[in-house]
């Protein structure tokens, strides 16, 4: 399968201040998004996630490097016909109703009039906003705007969807719904690039991830390849044993309602803990081996930089 988007050594700096000073934001970003995958682009605040996306969409112009979208220069209008985009903190024309708003964008893509109403109805239903079709956007909450924004990103039935923090501003239920929609897009054969700093979401739905820190990509690849399967430590929750007795066996984290959460790094010591609990006639409530998570990888990448 080919690549939908290719960035090659993209650099961008902004000139700021009264006495102009160049501040580099992107310091040579290179990655490719393959057809049909969900690509997670993550990084801490201010790492350059949104700037990268703005470069791809032609909102800002890179100082150096090339960006190819569907094997064309990303600035060609034709390259953007199959792209859908949801910006971070979407602000839309608040004087329009949700249906008018979607109709406007559908018109920009040249969707024929007889097709528009049906498509808009379908999209509003998909994002759970069908009841708000006649409401002006100024009366929408942030979560509602996010949903309508997503519908807007899909109005041209794109094959490549770019979502900048699509799960921001949503309640847990809304996040789950949007996550399901993103997975549905993948099932429909679409490619998705999305940014987030909510690692749980990325871990749940992404095929590949890139971690960007301070304008540079620190880590990129399939999640399974990036995260090691080795057990880092085991979390054991026990009761009926004195905390002081457990201290030499591992890191005692909390002790609430008689229960102690112990972080045991050495696998052989787990057996010692269990023997001790049996001797003291205590109870083992949980025993969870912890492998490396995306969070560990992320924290590590940020620290290293």
């Amino acid at each position: 399968m080919g690549n939908v988007l290719v960035l090659d050594n993209v650099r961008k700096s902004f000139t700021l201040g009264f006495i102009p000073k160049k501040r580099p934001v992107l310091k040579g970003i290179s990655f490719a998004v393959g057809e049909g995958e969900i690509f997670g682009y993550l990084g801490p605040n201010g790492a350059g996630k949104t700037s990268t996306i703005k470069c791809v969409l032609g909102l800002i112009f890179p100082d150096a490097g090339t960006i190819t979208l569907f094997d064309r220069s990303h600035l060609e209008p034709k390259a953007k016909t199959s792209v859908g985009f949801l910006p971070e903190n979407p602000y839309f024309y608040d004087y329009l109703t949700a249906a008018e708003f979607l109709d406007f964008y559908a018109q920009l893509f040249g969707v024929p009039k007889d097709e528009r109403a049906a498509r808009i109805g379908r999209l509003l239903k998909l994002v759970g906003m069908e009841k708000a079709a006649r409401l002006p956007l100024r009366k929408f909450s942030r979560g509602m705007l996010q949903r309508v924004g997503l519908a807007q990103a899909l109005v041209n039935e794109p094959s490549f969807v770019i979502l900048d923090e699509p799960l921001g501003g949503l309640d847990p239920l809304g996040r789950r719904e949007i996550r399901d929609i993103i997975l549905g897009l993948k099932d429909a054969g679409k490619t998705v690039l999305f940014t987030s700093h909510i690692l749980q979401d990325i871990e749940m739905i992404c095929d590949r991830v890139a971690i960007v820190v301070d304008g540079r990509i620190r880590s990129i690849g399939r999640l399974a390849d990036l995260i090691s399967e080795n057990v880092l430590f085991t979390e054991v929750t026990v009761s009926g044993v004195d905390r002081a007795e457990l201290a030499p066996l591992g890191e005692s984290l909390t002790a609430q309602a008689g229960r102690t959460l112990l972080k045991v790094y050495d696998e052989e010591r787990i057996e010692t803990v269990l023997t001790l609990v049996r001797e003291r006639k205590g109870k083992v409530h949980a025993l969870v081996p912890r492998t490396q998570t995306l969070e560990d990888l992320f924290v590590d990448a940020v620290r290293r930089s």
């Binding site: 902004f14 703005k54 969409l57 032609g58 909102l59 800002i60 112009f61 209008p77 034709k78 390259a79 953007k80 016909t81 792209v83 985009f85 910006p87 903190n89 979407p90 602000y91 839309f92 024309y93 004087y95 329009l96 008018e100 406007f104 964008y105 018109q107 920009l108 893509f109 040249g110 924004g149 807007q152 770019i162």
Partner: protein, 254 residues
């Protein structure tokens, strides 16, 4: 096609903005107040109604062009609505042209509304429809399409308040630049005179669009004058829009 869609959306945005109706209300008030001035005047009252009414239409037309024109593009950038728009398969020049044409359409409708009020008031005085009064309004429209382009040019790189000041200065300079012509005639030939001539050529001459006095006093207006004014307005507008596109094309939307 894209230009048309953006233009119609801009029109929708402008007509759903309350500021526009506030301006229209004050314009109507100013036109009707010309009646009060007429009562206070010795002489031809109808002429005063016609003259002050036309001046009101002209002033509020320019005010509308400046106030909406300087805000619209800036608002798109400030409110970040431009992010979704530019990410669509449209060129930035199409966006700018769409915005401009939407504004021209809005001004056309507002000017029509003011004209109806104005002609109604004149009709109440003379009891006949004076088609000749449409002529200065047509000239005014030519002036407004130029002022709108200037307002959009400034709003491509400046805040609404500064852009309004710039556009207002353009309007005022444009209406007084004819006095430079008098100065040129009184200056002896030489470097000074050439410099003045260059400045005069660069500055807009909005008095080209002012035929109020001729119409109100029933003086003849040669047909070629309208054609010259139309050519001047279109050429100047095209130049200003081209400048706006050049600035807008390379702008980063941060």
């Amino acid at each position: 096609m894209t230009v048309k869609v953006i233009a119609l959306n801009t029109f929708k945005e402008a007509v759903r903005d309350r500021v526009l109706y506030l301006l229209l209300f004050f314009a109507a008030l100013a036109i009707v107040l010309s009646r009060v001035l007429a009562v206070l005047t010795v002489g031809d009252r109808v002429k005063v109604v016609k003259d002050v009414g036309l001046a009101s239409v002209s002033f509020f037309g320019a005010l509308m062009a400046i106030m909406i024109g300087t805000g619209l593009v800036y608002k798109e950038i400030e409110k970040r609505t431009i992010f979704t728009l530019v990410s669509k398969p449209i060129r930035r020049s199409e966006f700018l042209l769409g915005k401009y044409l939407g504004l021209v359409l809005t001004l056309g409708v507002m000017l029509a509304a003011m004209t109806v009020i104005y002609l109604g008031l004149v009709f109440a005085h003379t009891l006949r429809f004076e088609a000749r009064l449409l002529l200065p309004i047509a000239f005014l429209f030519l002036e407004l399409i130029l002022i709108t382009a200037v307002a959009i040019l400034f709003s491509c790189f400046s805040t609404p308040i500064l852009s309004s000041l710039f556009a207002l200065s353009f309007y005022l300079i444009g209406h007084f630049s004819w006095s430079l012509e008098t100065l040129i005639q009184k200056t002896r030939p030489g470097a000074g005179r050439t410099a003045l001539q260059v400045v005069y050529a660069l500055l807009p001459d909005l008095e080209n669009f002012n035929v109020k006095t001729e119409v109100v006093h029933g003086l003849p207006i040669p047909a070629s004058l309208f054609l010259t004014a139309a050519g001047y307005s279109l050429a100047y507008t095209a130049f200003v829009l081209l400048l706006a596109v050049l600035i807008f094309r390379r702008r980063d939307f941060v």
